[in-house]
Symmetry: C2
């Protein structure tokens, strides 16, 4: 899968988010990426790659023989930033689609804890983690914020496998020392902190500059962590201001009631009993914190989260599937909270951030049906959440999420099918398989083509995927 | 695509709905289908096809040389009834995914009427209709209740193309003589009725026994039909009690207000101004009537619909996409209303009934979030709606929807991928494309495999499709 590190010139149409509301369409454009995977030029307005090369290579000091040219074939192919999955449990992947009629707390005990615990078996962990990395890469996920399990060895294995596959990742060992089954939890706060440090040390050893894989502090969620554990993690977060933090918040109403019961102000020292204040009291509500869900946050909590600069990972597939609720993304954005998208496998059923984007649009319409018509998210907005928003959520907005000089080349080549006069697809022979469900008839605007991709696209449309300039997935 | 009409013996696992709540799993089973496409034997409990043949052929009077054997390969392949799409607009297919932030009434004028009108061009109609038939067959839709357009010639072409492709279909010429653009409507009630009769005559000419394709009376929806047109269609429905009727009802709140304004009891003679009573007053609310949507029906209306025996096509993708509302399917079922699923392209964005089933489950969870936890639909229930429920909705419950002696063989072969120890898929070589997103790890129950299919399956999992015994789609 690894390709030699050479300079590359990508040519064709590039689409990325300019703002939350607006996509930028760059046609006839060349993007030069150096051997380190960095974008060194973005040059629109060229007739073909040769013209772009003639204009760019002298200024870059590149010899044509040292450059690989990657051209997007036709008018229905385009380069798009890689997706950022801001919340998923690699260890739950085998359970996607299996949740019955459960909701969060029974779902954890029935489906989730037994599977996670079983990944202490290294062979099983290797099979599952290899698969989830391959699958998410195939769906264009160039960066993923993973929860592994409580087990250090298999958490470390996940980091090893991400590095080998070339997927950018945050990898978190799960901390949980209470309200979890005896067969699956940290023995004590001290043991949890030691295990967390061990996993951090491993990841820093395999990727010393943290250029691709980095550790993330991961208290599972407040109910499964004792106050001493949360306090210890807050202290570790203060000691290591370079590390991101990830956890869950306000996913389900019973969960929220449980947090109020477990963490009254008398136990936390917080001024109130809100879920957000619990994390805040322990020093875990920071500008490096990724909060998954945020479905039932109060006005006060949204304001506190915005004030602290913590981010929200919106997980619509999961929130609908396990009947958690419909998160008010527009409202969060207007409160000044940065949001991205998470597949949240296996609360969420799909490995695809594109599916999460689609569901984010649909769920926002369910919020709108409640009376707030401006809650609706557009195609442009959900794609922003899937890329630039996600980059901010995981703290990598200076590295990935858009095509600009100085950013890393984390990208996907997207191809849509063009219907021919006989109702087949251009370039596909009778009897051959057609590549996906996006049918372009020829009269659509670019904005309409992108909408078709969002609503009917899948991994078949993601033809190639690069991370830091390296080709990490290709459809034959 | 056509295969010679020979006897066939299907062998392997068969799954179909026993009741709304329960799937039946028949393993090691043989289903014998005669050359007319009818199921003549269902025989569980055989070790292999040879054993089944030895037991069955003598009683059927079949010589082994005259029988094609179709065996489902492994433990992750199974036969399932073909899907029934109870509501879609073939003519809107090119617009799937293109709806912006619109809702019903502006969506019609902005996106829909211009496209439908343009299909009076026969070349364009052929391209679009060929494509939608090919696409829906690929997704396992063996029977579709189509709306075409106002134009007779292209409506007839749609029927011709369904017959040629071997897709079972209801084909309706759209009746609309008011509140529609001048460039796209029937000139008068009389013209609408004459055009409808012309299309019926064509379909009866090409398929005299209506064994595959049948006409359906299609008043678009009340607002676009004048009272004389509705009255004329009611009279035609009485004259032709063999013909089904399809229309829309109670999709959107503004639409409902419009109906109340256009059709007060003084104009219809109905006892009240409900949407359902309008159709009832004109003789169009019958046990042959397919009502698309039914999102905002009142208690009174649901009871009236149940009393008349009319059916509801639930279109969750559409209802969420164009922000119509969340239909209360459980409530309708408890009222005694028969329900099936519709893709409702292009209000709905997907050609897949499996996607409609998935969304039906998710939307039912949004209904549950409103407070009624029993609103949630299970995997088993949405698959019932997609097959047996749909068969009842289109009036073909004695022909299709389950595997029983005397029924037609309308079926799909579903294949799921099995993950190997290295995180690849069994039977797929390194570098080859994997077939779909359903990953079976090996420890899942059959019910869990089916759930995985519902939540992550797509057309790649539909390996072969038959209608009336004829192979109409196959993935290479």
């Amino acid at each position: 899968m690894a390709t030699p590190s050479r300079n590359k010139l990508f040519f064709g149409s590039f689409i990325h988010s300019k703002t939350l509301a607006e996509l930028e369409y760059l046609h006839g454009t060349a993007v030069a990426v150096d051997s380190a995977g960095k974008i060194v030029a973005v040059a629109p307005g060229h007739a073909d790659p040769a013209a772009a090369a003639a204009a760019l290579f002298p200024t870059l000091g590149w010899a044509p023989a040292d450059v690989d040219i990657v051209q997007a074939k036709s008018e229905s192919h385009f380069f798009f930033p890689g997706f950022i999955d801001t919340h998923l449990h690699a260890s739950q992947y085998p359970n996607v689609g299996i949740f019955g009629n459960s909701t969060l707390l029974d779902w954890l005990n029935t489906y989730t804890f037994p599977l996670e615990a079983s990944l202490a078996d290294p062979a099983k962990a290797r099979k599952v983690y290899t698969r989830v990395i391959r699958k998410t890469l195939a769906h264009g996920t160039t960066c993923a914020a993973y929860y592994a399990t409580v087990d250090v060895a298999s958490t470390n294995l996940l980091a090893d496998l991400c590095l080998a596959a070339g997927q950018r990742a945050l990898v978190g060992r799960v901390c949980m020392d209470q309200l979890s089954p005896a067969y699956y939890r940290d023995e004590s706060p001290a043991a949890a902190l030691a295990a967390t440090r061990a996993s951090i040390a491993h990841i820093e050893a395999i990727d010393p500059t943290l250029s691709l894989v980095r550790p993330v502090l991961t208290p599972r969620f407040a109910p499964s962590c004792s106050a001493p554990l949360l306090k210890g993690l807050g202290a570790l977060a203060a000691e290591r201001p370079d590390l991101p933090i990830q956890t869950h918040i306000s996913e389900n109403k019973n969960e929220i009631a449980l947090v109020k019961e477990l963490f009254p102000p008398s136990a936390t020292g917080a001024p109130d009993d809100s879920y957000s204040s619990v994390y805040d009291a322990f020093g875990l509500l920071t500008d490096r914190t990724i909060l998954a869900h945020g479905v039932h946050l109060s006005e006060f909590e949204a304001e506190l989260i915005a004030k602290r600069g913590a981010k929200v990972s919106h997980c619509p597939c999961s929130n609908s599937a396990i009947t958690s609720g419909a998160a008010r993304v527009r409202w969060l954005l207007e409160k000044g909270v940065t949001c991205g998208l998470g597949t949240d496998m296996s609360g969420g059923y799909s490995p695809s951030v594109l599916e999460a984007a689609r569901l984010a649009a649909l769920v926002s319409r369910h919020v709108a049906m409640g009376g707030d018509d401006k809650a609706k998210l557009t195609v442009e907005e959900v794609l922003y959440l899937a890329t630039r928003g996600g980059a901010e959520v995981v703290g990598l907005q200076e590295w990935v999420g858009r095509f600009e000089v100085g950013m890393d080349w984390d990208a996907q080549l997207v191809g849509l099918g063009t219907v021919d006069a006989e109702g087949g697809v251009e370039g596909v022979e009778e009897g051959e398989e057609e590549d996906g469900n996006v049918d372009v008839f020829g009269w659509e605007s670019w904005a309409e083509r992108v909408a078709k991709w969002v609503y009917n696209g899948d991994d078949r449309n993601t033809r190639k995927v690069w991370v830091k300039g390296r080709l990490v997935h290709e459809r034959k």
